[in-house]
Symmetry: C2
Subunit: 337 residues, 2 copies
DNA sequence: CAGTCCAGTCGAAGCGCTTCGACATGGTAT
DNA sequence: ATACCATGTCGAAGCGCTTCGACTGGACTG
């Protein structure tokens, strides 16, 4: 293992000079810099992470906490995680992956040990037990998701309330009066996950404003549960012509079941989904949808965090504006009998 | 930030004693141990990761390289990653998440800087460019996946050759003579990803041995490409009654299209999938399938790696035996016309 | 009863780096 | 010519931990 001292010796300068070449914190003459850089290349030098962290009390690592709930749609999580990792690298940070298992203890461990300089938390609950710890520590952090109380916290999320409103507006504009919402699994609501409740709130509020009838049903996804849910929906509201689907795992089952029941999409019923682009375009009917901008969320979270680490930036809630893309699954409401 | 020295002072012992209490590398009297542990608790002490890494040249971090290819099925990756993270924690290791972007440079960076003690590589290609680097360094590593040359490497993977054979045997046992294989996207084969080629090899070899006709078609997944692929299959082999699907994104489209064409599953055609359990049980027809044991793979990879780190264990290829679960999508071949 | 051993503890060295103050050097302003 | 400053470089002091050798006092052995 090559050390700073060896590089210094090889280049005929002192260790501190090499260090300053690396960090750029003091001016170095061009000739010296080049000589040092040459030595670094030749010897294949890599600064030792531990020593660096010890001396500078900066690890250049960002901790990313991903819970491992089975009822969350994984691809979105993964996409965010990957965007976070890529974004972090461009700022010179690596990602430490923490799964939910440890819970709040992980926060303590990471902040206490100086393992990471900052944290990004995913899948935040409205009243998350990690938040008090986060507020207590002076370690910068960013949440992906929105808790009930954002005081003193930085958050990045899709504006799910606006998302809900947007879906309702789209269907209302097409003349639909009875709308069913196929929501996330019941457990997601019980856990008070922000995005689910916010979407629902947006849907309900706008529906009321526009004078629509809205029926919300949680749904685990999969064919069997979707079939049961759909039966209940048409039982209670036979005139339903518009669907808003939030659970990705329910999208395809819903489409298949509607087809099976002889209800044509979009002639008889319209479907709007909240899902990643890929799901929308690869479904059996190209779906009118509001995209969940996973990449954007990951990128923005890193940007906010790096700003904090650099002393710029402050606590702030970044809500990304939803965009609805019209595709083949929504159309004018059928004219009444 | 609380340091070792402060704990030592609080407990009335020397710093080295505290260190030995923590590591257990020398015997400590019960009374001293308890006093020290009490102080640690009271002061809320967490060892500083950087200092520890520097002094012991062990970071207690395992690097996990996940490529970010869009044509791979993400949930499996994610499941493995989470299993790796959880497994690592039980052995006292944290996970550093590296995405494919950096490529081989990431290997150099991590081994060179002492950031991690060991690596786990996912989605290994048959002739992966990271392998020479891995062989050159003395840092322990485990691959999830199987390259062409496993000399000097430790690998964990599902036995995809046996998986292919198993699928063919099942269909052959039910009397099917013409089998179509809906493979991964063409790009996956072009990249020479081990698992795809191995499955195909297993399928072909066993089919030949059993005297079956086998038609293989790559497929990107999604409805449109699946429709095109399916048309070509029935065009070339009208008597096809058995399907083996390897691409998860093609499963549901295939089922929907068959239904649409009036071909009943499993009465007219049988479908066997290679996919995670969840996909098999949540599909519109409960699928006869060979499960991809993502969790098991992640767990085993960590075990192998930890064994190496502890000086136990050696280079070894661990191939997990596939298991086929019969569900509702396969049945006896229809009797000929 | 001297010699040996072991459990239990301590002090000090050092891991590889960052960073502070000090020191030259040469240019610029007075 | 003197004083001053900016620039470039160095030496040394740590950062918080692990670990090695050394020391102590009691429990054995012969």
């Amino acid at each position: 293992m090559v050390t700073l001292a060896e590089v210094a010796q090889h280049a005929g300068v002192s260790a501190s000079t090499v260090s300053y070449v690396l960090s750029g914190k003091r001016s170095i003459s061009t000739t010296t810099r080049q000589r040092v850089e040459e030595s670094i290349r030749k010897l294949g030098y890599h600064p030792n992470a531990g020593a660096r962290a010890l001396a500078s009390s900066r690890s250049n690592i960002i901790a990313l906490m991903i819970p491992l709930r089975t009822d969350m749609y994984v691809p979105v999580m993964m996409e965010i995680a990957i965007a976070v990792a890529a974004g972090a690298r461009t700022h010179g940070y690596d990602i430490l992956l923490l799964t939910g298992e440890e819970g709040p203890d992980a926060v303590r461990r990471v902040t206490g040990s100086g393992l990471a300089d900052a944290m990004i938390l995913m899948d935040v609950e409205l009243d998350d037990e990690r938040l008090p710890l986060l507020r207590a520590t002076d370690q910068p952090s960013v949440l992906i998701g929105l808790p009930a109380d954002t005081e003193g916290l930085t958050c990045v999320d899709l504006d799910f309330r606006a998302t809900g409103a947007l879906c309702v507006e789209h269907l209302a504009g097409l003349g639909h009066r009875d709308i069913a919402v196929i929501g996330e699994a019941a457990a997601v609501y019980e856990r008070h996950t922000g995005f689910a409740e916010r979407t629902l709130d947006g849907l309900r509020t706008r529906a009321r404003e526009l004078g629509l009838r809205l029926l919300h049903r949680p749904c685990e996804g999969g064919y069997d549960t979707m079939a049961a849910t759909l039966a209940r929906v048409f039982d209670e509201r036979p005139d339903t012509t518009g669907f808003v689907v939030q659970n990705e795992a329910a999208v395809e089952p819903l489409l298949a079941l509607l087809r099976q029941q002889g209800r044509a999409v979009p002639e008889d019923v319209s479907v709007v989904a909240v899902c990643p682009e890929q799901v929308a375009t690869q479904a059996s009917v190209r779906l009118t949808s509001v995209a969940v901008p996973a990449q954007e969320m990951g990128r923005r979270a890193v940007e906010q965090l790096v700003a904090k680490l650099d002393g710029r930036g402050s606590d702030e809630v970044v809500l990304l504006a939803p965009e609805l893309t019209v595709r083949a699954s929504s159309g004018p409401a059928p004219v009444g009998p």
